[in-house]
């Protein structure tokens, strides 16, 4: 597989399938792992980073998921657009591409597995699946982790667990998260209360593109905060219990909109649909907001004849690097807005 092949396929996690897929876009579990005594990336010199990479690379390349039609890429060999493309597809973080030397990423063929090397930790293993599937993510990632651990001397203490660069990840080194679409809670102005409750229960709420981003288009990424003192299963059980409640709140809010505020709801949904279908210049922020409304219309059975996968895919395809990669050239902001509108019109006619 090459980076260009990515563009021809829809990321597995955008398929719009899986449990609770009318609310949950995707589920993700990531593990932070380090090699004993090797210097952590932020404190390492370039030669030290290279030598850590030299230890990890052959082992990661041999992982079945990567060996079979996967991709292994050194960041210094990627163009800026390619790097941004991988960020937009949620395969790597912005932090990984901030520097060049000794950084690499491995991705499997359906993009459900990615392993970043020398990001904040020596390894960041991620499994990303569509719908609410944290348990499945865990089973898959545990399996990969076990195979890596047999060949690498992973930093671990019986008392403190996995030793990570940042003490907020010590212990399981695990962050489990789900990307939720909560438009009805936002429209009915209940979202602040729900977010506050979630935070009080020890979870973290972030925006569409992870750490440090704002919640746009009614998307909320919810993850565990604590990684020490609880087993991986306990952490996932805890998130699952809390999120099941959130799903219920969102469903109730959707019913309220349908029964008490129907014309307003229909107006928002169809207005968004109309603009997306007809606009000739559109920004990425507006696109995400409108797509969110269209998705709500689809999930509530108002809009028919569109696939959820098409809507999901548009969230990613309309991002700057994707547009430029599709056009195979650099585009100005204005050119992107024009190209974006054109792409949307083609996809949802």
């Amino acid at each position: 597989m090459t980076l260009d092949d990515l563009l021809k396929q829809t990321s597995g996690w955008l398929k719009g399938t899986g449990p609770h897929s009318d609310i949950v876009i995707s589920s993700r579990v990531r593990l932070a792992r380090n090699i004993e005594k090797m210097i952590f990336p932020d404190w390492a010199t370039d030669p030290q980073l290279e030598s850590t990479l030299a230890i990890i690379e052959p082992v990661v390349r041999e992982v079945d998921e990567i060996k079979n039609k996967g991709l292994f890429l050194a960041i210094k060999d990627a163009t800026n657009v390619e790097k941004q493309l991988m960020v937009e597809r949620h395969l790597i973080s912005r932090e990984l591409i901030a520097k060049k030397e000794g950084r690499a990423v491995a991705i499997n063929s359906d993009e459900s597995v990615s392993i970043m090397i020398n990001e904040e930790d020596h390894m960041r293993i991620q499994v990303l699946l569509p719908g609410f599937a944290l348990e499945e993510c865990w089973n898959k990632i545990e399996n990969i982790d076990n195979r890596l651990e047999k060949k690498l001397n992973i930093a671990f203490s019986v008392k403190l667990g996995y030793l990570t660069a940042c003490p907020t990840n010590t212990g399981t080194g695990m962050r489990a998260s789900a990307m939720l679409h909560l438009p009805a809670l936002v429209m009915t102005k209940q979202i602040n209360r729900v977010v506050q409750a979630i935070v009080k229960l020890g979870l973290t709420v972030r925006g569409l593109f992870g750490e440090g981003t704002e919640a746009t288009g009614n998307f909320f990424q919810i993850s565990n905060q604590v990684s020490l003192g609880r087993s991986e299963h306990e952490i996932i059980d805890n998130i699952t219990r809390i999120l099941n409640q959130v799903f219920e709140y969102e469903q109730n809010a959707r019913q309220v909109l349908k029964t008490k505020d129907k014309s307003n709801l229909e107006d928002q949904v169809w207005r968004a649909y109309g603009i997306l279908k007809n606009a000739h210049i559109i920004s990425s922020v507006e696109t995400i907001k409108l797509l969110s409304n269209v998705r709500l219309g689809f999930d509530m059975g108002l809009i028919k004849g569109l696939a959820r996968e098409t809507i999901n895919e548009l969230f990613i395809l309309t991002q700057p690097a994707h547009l430029q990669k599709l056009e195979a050239k650099a585009l100005t902001a204005h050119q992107r807005d024009v190209k974006r509108a054109q792409l949307i019109r083609e996809k949802i006619k």
Binding site: N34, E36, K37, M38, I39, F40, D42, W43, E120, E142, D145, N146, E149, K150, I154, A155, F156, S157, V158, K159, L160, G161, Y162, L163, A165, C166, P167, T168, T170, G171, T172, M174, G202, E211, G212, T213, E214, Q225, V226, S227, L228, G229, R230, S231, E232, E234
Partner: protein
């Protein structure tokens, strides 16, 4: 209110609650910028908050930590306070005195209960077994199950002698 770093008037105020523990930061514009907290429109990550926690909330280098330098990676505790990330796995041992309270503050616990590497070497397995027994012993004492506690204590003694 004065900046907690330099004493100039504080204009940036940040409150962070982790595990019911509230930490407050009061900084002047310049120091906030240095910490990466200035201009709240700018996204800032957990790292910055953590660096804040290390600096003000929790361990201001207790005991010997202040002068300690990790033999393996040459990081000092001061370096860690500045960047909010450790230098290598050995730092956990080097800065134990200050790190333990910090970990307790962040996670509310100090005992890993998740999976571990499936290593075959015997020493590791024994260590793991001992940890588990200690944990059970603590619980038994808490529950005032003294008979069980006595049994566990014997087991631990035996295992320690053997290894």
């Amino acid at each position: 209110m004065k900046c907690q770093l330099c004493g100039k008037p504080a204009t940036v105020h940040l409150t962070e609650i982790i595990n019911d523990q509230m930490t407050e930061l009061h900084l002047c514009e310049a120091c906030a910028k240095k910490k990466g907290i200035a201009g709240m429109g700018q996204p800032f990550g957990l790292q910055d908050l953590l660096a804040g926690l290390v600096d003000f909330g929790a361990p201001a280098a207790s005991g010997n930590t202040k002068v300690l330098k990790c033999e393996n990676c040459k990081m000092t505790y001061d370096d860690f306070r500045k960047i909010g990330r450790l230098g290598c796995s050995q730092c956990y041992e080097t800065f134990k005195e200050s790190l333990v309270p910090l970990l307790k503050k962040v996670h509310g616990s100090l005992q890993h209960l998740g999976k571990g590497p499936q290593r075959d070497d015997e020493g590791f397995q024994v260590k793991k077994k001992l940890q588990n027994l200690h944990l059970k012993l603590q619980k038994a004492i808490q529950n005032e199950a003294f008979e069980e506690a006595a049994k566990l204590r014997d087991k631990i003694k035996k295992l320690e002698k053997e290894s």
